[in-house]
Amino acid sequence: MTFLLDDEQHEFGRTLDRMLSAADVAGAVRAWGADDTGPGRKVWQRLADAGVFALAVPEEYGGAAPDGHKGAPQDGRCGEAPVGNDGAAPEGYRASGLLPLLTVEMSLAFVVLGCHAMPGPVVETVAAAALLRRLDDPALNRRWLPGIATGGHLVSYTDQAHGPYALDAAAADTRFVIMDDRLLCAAGHGPVQPSLDPARRLARPALDDEVLASGPEVRAAAAHAADVAALLTAAQALGVGRRLLADTITYVQQRKQFGVAIGSFQAVKHRLADALLALEFAQPLVFAAAVALAGGERRAHGERRTRGDVAAAKVAAGEAAYGAARTALQLHGAVGYTEELDLSLWIRKARALRSAWGTPSACRARVLAGAP
């Protein structure tokens, strides 16, 4: 039918963007990196109130059902401007019976999260919800999904097939770990290790704790959750890249050398044109993968192809964001190479997201495995 966002989707994105623009997300990121998760959790709660996490949770567990929300957020808490009137997801989402876990809306939300460098296990929490939904064990669902939907529950989720480190294990309320075909709930974790993106705090989870489920269906659900995580990481990267490009455009228009704005130099312009090109062509891959994962293309597509679509989005968005980071740094000159400038938050995140939930090489292999 149409490969465009509709009005409601636009409005959803704009609402989130306005809300995060009003909140001091950069301050929350810096605090998060310094082990103070308070400001970050406040932003998290506002995202939940706007319906972001509810998108991943079915109505019966307090997901995006009409009455699934705990009411309006506290205006003005996280920023000067009272944002969105009720902060809740637009009517259409709450009312829609569809609300599949992975929709275009979720990707859209994650682009906006990337634009604002949102800290915390945002991807992992949604991936955990995806895992639970696929396992569909009512006891597990009841235990976790409502908390995820309402924003009270942050989940650190690790799949040992994808790497040993848990993101924000210390900050999260729950640590899920996939080991082979078992789903574990880890009580503890090893020391938090320095990461190149200080806001991504990595630790090895404990592996010998409560076994929540096991068997081949765990592996299948974990594969699905990994696709969800890869897609949302790609969407987040896209937002990171967009922001890096936008801030750099602003900068090259005001910074003068040789008596003119550096943005009038062709070498500068062409680097920025290339950054835009990479982002513009990554974006439809991200949204097409969202459509495929939501089942929109299943009929023609098949599971392996869908996985390839997600992997393609991950490669393209990851490379585009990383390229934008390199460009942003270069064109800012020395000031770009400082921690003080907020630009550093996005530069470092771009590199981290490139490898998270699928390295470029692993994703390229998956693209070819799914190619017709």
């Binding site: 989707q9 906006v112 835009l276 090109l277 062509f281 949204f287 009929r299 393609a312 017709p372």
Partner: protein, 413 residues
């Protein structure tokens, strides 16, 4: 958001596929850059036209099917998947025709389009001059007023297919006293066999006479062959330029089909070479990205793309937050420049990767017996190398992207 085609559109796909399956020549036609090949391709155009497949997006009265943009994209997918011959009429169909639809008179449409659709008249583009390449507006060929028309004089060059084509369209300076270089230009159509025209073929990098220079000495053109108002040629030409860079010149179907052939090639080659594998994957990703970008673009056009509130508006209020396949302003203006740079670089990457996969056989060109694909990849590589040069070089396109889409200041040219 949804990527499924409507059932009627899928039906259209099946009709096209069925036709192509029975009509596409089993042995590839000789290169259209040779006299023999040109004639064979002209015949193929006639075959296409006979069943109204040569110009599917045109109105029926001119030999088309009135197909929507979405159906045109489907047709192109099927066309390239079927390995059908290259289009000798491309200059006319994708450059001149859109210009005529926008600026031509009804009489011009009726006179020019049907023989174009059937391949009876093949067109060449006569824009470039020896001193006017990227700086096209500095062109010097003249059109001088005469009784009932104009007299053209000057020197055009790099005119693709002019060696064997019938007619040409181009820009001429009709008012030498205009205050700016791009004023006082007139857009005309002329006969390549008219008295006063000398065509000198130029051998391309591969030795084939794929383009030519034209020497014009008081060549008469009647008023009826002027497109738009005399003196307004630049404005008329710029609508053509958008088409040339944009999707009509390089439809996604072409790259999708090439990427599929590349994957097949890779599956036969050494799978342990991960560097090559990654390049194959990137070509597949690029072809899919181009396909999807174009889908979004087509959908925006179909939705009557409005200015100011593009599909990216929900992605944040940053200048870097563009729409799905588009221009942050929501307009479509700069998209063709994004397209141009992307497809031209993708085309080279696809072909270079194929040649590296082929190894020693990759060196075999033009219907070589030993080559698994009869030199298709080698010939394609030679052709792909021109992509970043023609239709406005990629340097010029990057300037346009930076200035029109990113809002950066104009620099010195």
């Amino acid at each position: 958001m949804d990527l499924e085609h409507a059932p009627e559109d899928e039906e259209f796909r099946h009709t096209a596929r069925a036709w192509l399956t029975t009509h596409v020549p089993v042995t590839p036609l000789p290169s259209l850059e040779t006299e023999e090949g040109f004639a064979a391709h002209r015949k193929w155009e006639r075959t296409l036209a006979a069943d109204r497949w040569s110009v599917v997006s045109w109105p029926e009265e001119y030999g088309g099917r009135g197909a929507s943009l979405a159906r045109w994209l489907i047709f192109e997918e099927e066309y390239y998947a079927a390995n059908a011959p290259g289009r000798v009429s491309q200059n006319g169909i994708s450059l001149l025709a859109p210009t005529l639809f926008e600026h031509g008179s009804p009489a011009q449409l009726a006179r020019v389009l049907p023989p174009m659709a059937s391949g009876e008249v093949v067109w060449a583009q006569a824009w470039s001059e020896p001193e006017a390449g990227s700086d096209l507006a500095s062109l010097r060929s003249r059109a001088v007023r005469t009784e009932g028309g104009w007299l053209l004089s000057g020197h055009k060059t790099w005119s693709s297919r002019a060696a064997f084509a019938d007619r040409a369209f181009g820009l001429f300076r009709s008012d030498p006293n205009a205050d700016r270089p791009h004023r006082g230009l007139t857009y005309v159509m002329f006969d390549l066999r008219a008295p006063g025209v000398t065509v000198r073929p130029i051998a391309r990098l591969d030795g084939k006479p794929a383009f030519a220079e034209l020497f014009l000495d008081e060549v008469f053109v009647p008023d009826e062959d002027v497109i738009g108002e005399p003196g307004q040629g630049w404005r008329v030409a710029m609508s053509t330029a958008g088409n040339e860079r944009g999707l009509t010149l390089r439809s996604p179907g072409r790259f999708t089909a090439a990427a599929e052939r590349l994957v097949a090639l890779w599956r036969r080659a050494d799978p342990s070479d991960t560097a090559l594998r990654d390049r194959v994957a990137d070509a597949v990703i690029g072809a899919r990205a181009y396909h999807l970008f174009t889908r979004a673009h087509a959908d925006r056009l179909a939705a009557g793309a409005s200015l100011g509130d593009g599909p990216g508006a929900g992605l944040g209020a940053h200048p870097g937050a563009g729409g799905l396949g588009g221009d942050p302003s929501g307009g479509l203006g700069g998209d063709s420049s994004l397209n141009k740079v992307f497809w031209s670089e993708l085309d080279i990457a696809l072909h270079e990767t194929a040649l590296d996969l082929l190894g020693a056989e990759g060196e075999l060109a033009g219907h070589a017996n030993d080559s698994p694909d009869q030199g298709g990849w080698a010939d394609g590589w030679l052709f792909s190398l021109a992509g970043p040069i023609y239709a406005g070089t990629n340097e010029i396109q990057r300037d346009i992207i930076a200035e029109r889409l990113l809002g950066l200041p104009k620099g010195r040219r």
